[in-house]
């Protein structure tokens, strides 16, 4: 079985499952052991589902193993969002994206590790076991969807990871683990059932081994949902079709110079090599400037923390999640729960977020950050009048070692997101693809498109992927 499925694409696995040349119950019988080995080595999961529910009818994802980031609710399956405060939480309903995976025949194999509520870039702010990079277990998988990147890299079977990004939580792990990460347009995928970090920026997306599988995943989780008012009416597409036989001939691609400041030179070189290859394929390349980039990071963190600090208010040990013997009055009880249930980074963001929206500071911080976000979106929109896409490095460094991460100050830590924050806070789609290695660690390149232009960035990503595979 191992040999049969190892190099199959997700789509081939599905067609073989449907025509019966792969027996899915046999496949899942063998998968348990495999997942246990991976878990022991790299810890991508918070929960592994031992006896996954197999599909009753055929669908576009029939029998395909699919992992779900732990901040996405799964009915009757523990969902913690990486936090101790939800250590025993079992949601009564499926998130829309999970429901759609199941309806199309996908099989949920587990809930992947993450920074608590998505608060981090390295999946080290986690109440549970920290996922380790399959390329070097002493290094981070990136965050916050670290488990999703980890299992995508480690799986020697076809697999798609449903991940989530607020400020770069799909791009970072994809770049660090050498996988493909697609962050769709805000509103493309319903957030119903997603445990909120920053509702105005949270996006459910996909991580997988290649561009085609990643696009396939998006096709079957996207589309309007009446349960999420912010989900878009824009028609869903068969995104995987853009990954087949695509060309970049005549496409205008911008290279924003600000995205190359203070970047590892080797990463810059690898990105520019790939840009030149695309130019040889017929793309029209130009250098552009995104002057407001420098303001993205502070305004992102102000908005994200303001929203997060209200989202986290509901965790008070009263109705669900962590509980304790009732002792003292209401304030004493919930303060105790929150003191013990939240990690350091969650507390930091609650405090900063509460400060940023407090009377007297609100106009200077929260309201101003909203205005800056508007300007940043406008700057991107202005560029996309003349460009089909932008290309930049995904992360400024390769995956750091855990001992290096420990030395980072919170500010240095936040600064790691400087390349992903702008597109993420603007709600525009990005795809990160692996473009080689430095010291045998993967490098990521991101392709950024206008709202609802996933088709264009998937096309460019597929061409770049073919160039790297040498065909």
């Amino acid at each position: 079985m191992q040999l049969i499925t190892k190099n199959l694409s997700a789509a081939d696995f599905v067609s073989n499952s449907i025509n019966g040349s792969i027996d899915i119950s046999e496949f899942y019988g063998a998968l348990n052991e495999k997942l246990a080995i991976i878990q022991k080595k790299y810890a991508p999961f918070i929960t592994i589902i031992d006896n996954p529910e197999l599909p009753k009818k055929h669908g576009a994802l029939y029998g395909l193993p699919i992992s779900i980031k732990d901040c996405i609710c799964t009915a009757n399956i523990k969902t913690t969002a990486g936090s101790k405060i939800l250590e025993n939480y079992i949601p009564p309903f499926d998130a829309t994206s999970v429901k759609r995976v199941k309806e199309n025949g996908g099989v949920i194999i587990g809930k992947t590790a993450q920074d608590e509520f998505g608060f981090g870039t390295f999946s080290t702010n986690c109440a549970y076991e920290i996922p380790r990079n399959p390329h070097d277990p002493n290094r981070s998988c990136g965050g916050s969807s670290g488990g999703a990147g980890c299992i995508s890299a480690a799986a020697d079977f076809p697999h798609i990871a449903i991940a989530e990004s607020t400020g770069g939580s799909i791009t970072a792990p994809a770049a660090f683990t050498g996988t493909v990460g697609l962050t769709p347009t805000y509103g493309r995928v319903s957030r119903y059932g997603l445990i909120d970090y920053s509702n105005s920026m949270d996006k459910i997306g996909v991580i997988a081994k290649n561009v085609y599988d990643t696009a396939l995943g998006l096709t079957y989780i996207s589309g309007h949902d009446a349960n999420d008012t912010t989900s878009s009416n824009t028609k869903s597409e068969n995104f995987e079709d853009y990954a087949k036989n695509s060309t970049v001939k005549g496409m205008h691609i911008g290279v924003p110079k600000e995205y190359f400041d203070n970047i590892d030179n080797r990463i810059t070189k690898a990105v520019m090599d790939n840009v030149h290859k695309l130019e040889n394929d017929g793309a029209i390349i130009s250098e552009v400037s995104l002057k407001l980039t420098q303001y993205a990071l502070p305004s992102y963190y102000l908005i994200a923390m303001s929203e997060a600090s209200t989202n986290l208010a509901k965790y008070s040990g009263l109705r669900y999640g962590m509980q304790n013997y009732v002792d003292g009055n209401f304030s004493e009880y919930f303060s105790n729960i929150r003191e013990n249930g939240f990690g350091r980074e969650a507390k930091r963001r609650i405090i900063l977020g509460t400060y940023a929206r407090a009377a007297g500071f609100r106009d200077a911080y929260y309201m101003k950050a909203l205005k800056v976000r508007r300007l940043i979106i406008d700057e991107f929109k202005e560029r996309f009048k003349h460009l089909d896409a932008l290309i930049a490095p995904s992360m400024p460094i390769i995956a750091p070692r855990f001992d290096e991460i420990k030395k980072l100050t919170p500010l240095e830590n936040y600064n790691m997101d400087k390349l992903t924050i702008g597109p993420n806070m603007s709600g525009i789609p990005t795809i990160s693809i692996p473009i080689g290695t430095i010291e045998s660690m993967p490098i990521g390149m991101q392709i950024i498109g206008d709202h609802y232009n996933e088709s264009k960035i998937i096309k460019i990503a597929a061409v770049a992927e073919r160039n790297l595979n040498g065909n």
Binding site: P91, Y192, S200, S331
Partner: protein
């Protein structure tokens, strides 16, 4: 020193479902916590879905009180920790409410309305043993959580506790006419009142019942005047009104504005209020109480005062009045009986006309009995009580009540036998004796008999 009163009035709107989910708002009789879902319980991962009819109700309310209706409006999160809050933030409106800058007139005083906005009701707290100050623990019922509230905020233009009460009665009546709230439900209106006389503003939180609002403010007025006389400083604070003692007690000192850390609710996009939509709502608005009372006074030639009483008693009461007139064109008679007797009997039973047993046809039947002198007015006043109690046909009731009482002749005969001296004096033509006998008969018949009839019978006895 004149006092200034401003009110924050929370009105429970009677939409079918809650403000952000499809749970029913009609949960008063339901088992606690049964009318709930992941949205109103604030479970992780839920997203609120706006009930558009609540927005429509609020626009109606805004139009009725001469407000500007915003073209765009937002929802915000008001964050504070309290056990009745499922999310520890309340979805409300902060920056741009749906309705602003309106007014209500109470007699000659214009009370300006600052804003009217939509927000969700928190859960109901049940004080397990005793009150807020004595209970050891509380129980929480989330059936109410997420029900739509309209919060109306006035400027401090109210000049007396009495005027505050009149304002609430007027608002209640208008909401009733708009059909957007249920006046029969207790706690459909809850009030936070601000009052200042000489010193700082004092807030009295969460008062239920119009009479209680007046009482709380009167108590506070007297307390503050007393403090001033003793040269004591009135501090800025929040007080609680105790419904049993009718006194206000200090809850907490208020040294600065409470900080709720408002942010826009990012799950709910901008509400677009199209001008055409507002026009459509405007054209569907019913006749409001003030206009109706004026029209009724002219159209039916009844006193303006009577028309006001009928109209402000309730939309159902005024509808009943006009339905009666369609069947029997005797407006004066009908208004007299409705105001003086029918209303009294309904109030005695704490009923509204719309949920009582009284029907238009049977009430007309009753009026006709009086009108064609089948029964006396005096008897009518007795009959109406029985009628409101049972809802039975007034004609049938006449028979029933008459058989229970002895014929008048017999009663008078007995009285004469018991009071021979008085009868002798009456025979001699003494007026006092006649009055005495009439009084006796009236007492014996429970005042159901007509004095004229008694005199006739007594006179006929003289001839014997």
């Amino acid at each position: 020193m004149a006092i200034k009163i401003g009110l924050e009035i929370h009105c429970r709107l009677n939409t079918k479902s809650k403000l952000f989910c499809s749970c029913s708002t009609n949960s008063q009789e339901k088992e606690p916590n049964k009318e709930t879902c992941p949205i109103c319980l604030g479970l992780p991962g839920y997203k609120p879905l706006l009930n558009k009819s609540a927005v429509e109700y609020l626009i109606k309310m805004g139009l009725a009180f001469n407000c500007n209706i915003s073209e765009e409006s937002y929802f915000s999160r008001k964050t504070y920790f309290y056990p009745d809050m499922s999310k520890n933030f309340q979805i409300t409106q902060y920056e741009i409410p749906i309705a602003t800058n309106g007014n209500i007139h109470i007699n000659d005083n214009e009370i300006r309305i600052k804003r009217i906005h939509l927000e969700e009701d928190p859960a109901r707290i049940v004080y397990a043993n005793g009150s807020i100050s004595t209970t050891k623990y509380v129980l929480i019922d989330y059936n109410r959580a997420g029900a739509p509230l309209a919060e109306l905020v006035t400027e401090p233009d109210i000049k007396s506790p009495k005027e505050a009460r009149l304002l609430l009665e007027k608002i209640s009546s208008v909401l009733d006419y708009l059909g957007i709230y249920d006046p029969s439900k207790e706690a459909s209106i809850r009030v936070d009142a601000n009052i200042s006389s000489d010193g700082e503003r004092v807030e009295i939180k969460n008062i239920t019942g119009f009479e209680n609002v007046e009482k709380a403010l009167s108590y506070e007025e007297i307390r503050q005047k007393g403090m001033s006389r003793m040269n004591k400083k009135i501090e800025r604070e929040t007080r609680h009104f105790d419904e049993t003692t009718k006194m206000t007690t200090a809850m907490r000192k208020k040294e600065y504005e409470e900080d709720y850390g408002y942010i826009f609710d990012p799950d709910l996009p901008l509400i677009n209020i199209d001008k055409n939509w507002v026009e459509k709502i405007k054209s569907s608005m019913p006749e409001l109480p003030e206009k109706r009372a004026q029209r009724m006074a002219t159209q039916y030639s009844i006193d303006q005062y009577d028309a006001n009483v009928i109209v402000y008693t309730g939309r159902d009461f005024a509808d009943f009045f006009e339905s009666c007139i369609k069947k029997l064109n005797k407006p004066k008679e009908i208004s007299k009986w409705m105001i003086n007797y029918l209303l009294k009997s309904l109030n005695w039973r704490s009923e509204r006309i719309s949920n009582s047993k009284v029907t238009v046809d049977r009430f007309i039947e009753f009026i006709e009995l009086i009108d064609n002198n089948t029964i006396t007015e005096r008897f009518g006043k007795e009959l109406i009580k029985e009628f409101v109690d049972s809802g039975d046909s007034p004609k049938g009731l006449v028979g029933k009540i008459s058989t229970q009482t002895k014929p008048l002749n017999e009663v008078i005969n007995n009285i004469i036998i018991e009071n021979p001296k008085a009868f002798d004096e009456f025979k001699l033509g003494k007026k006092e004796a006649l009055q005495f006998l009439i009084g006796k008969v009236l007492n014996a018949t429970g005042k159901r008999s007509d004095p004229k009839e008694i005199v006739n019978i007594l006179n006929s006895m003289l001839e014997k």
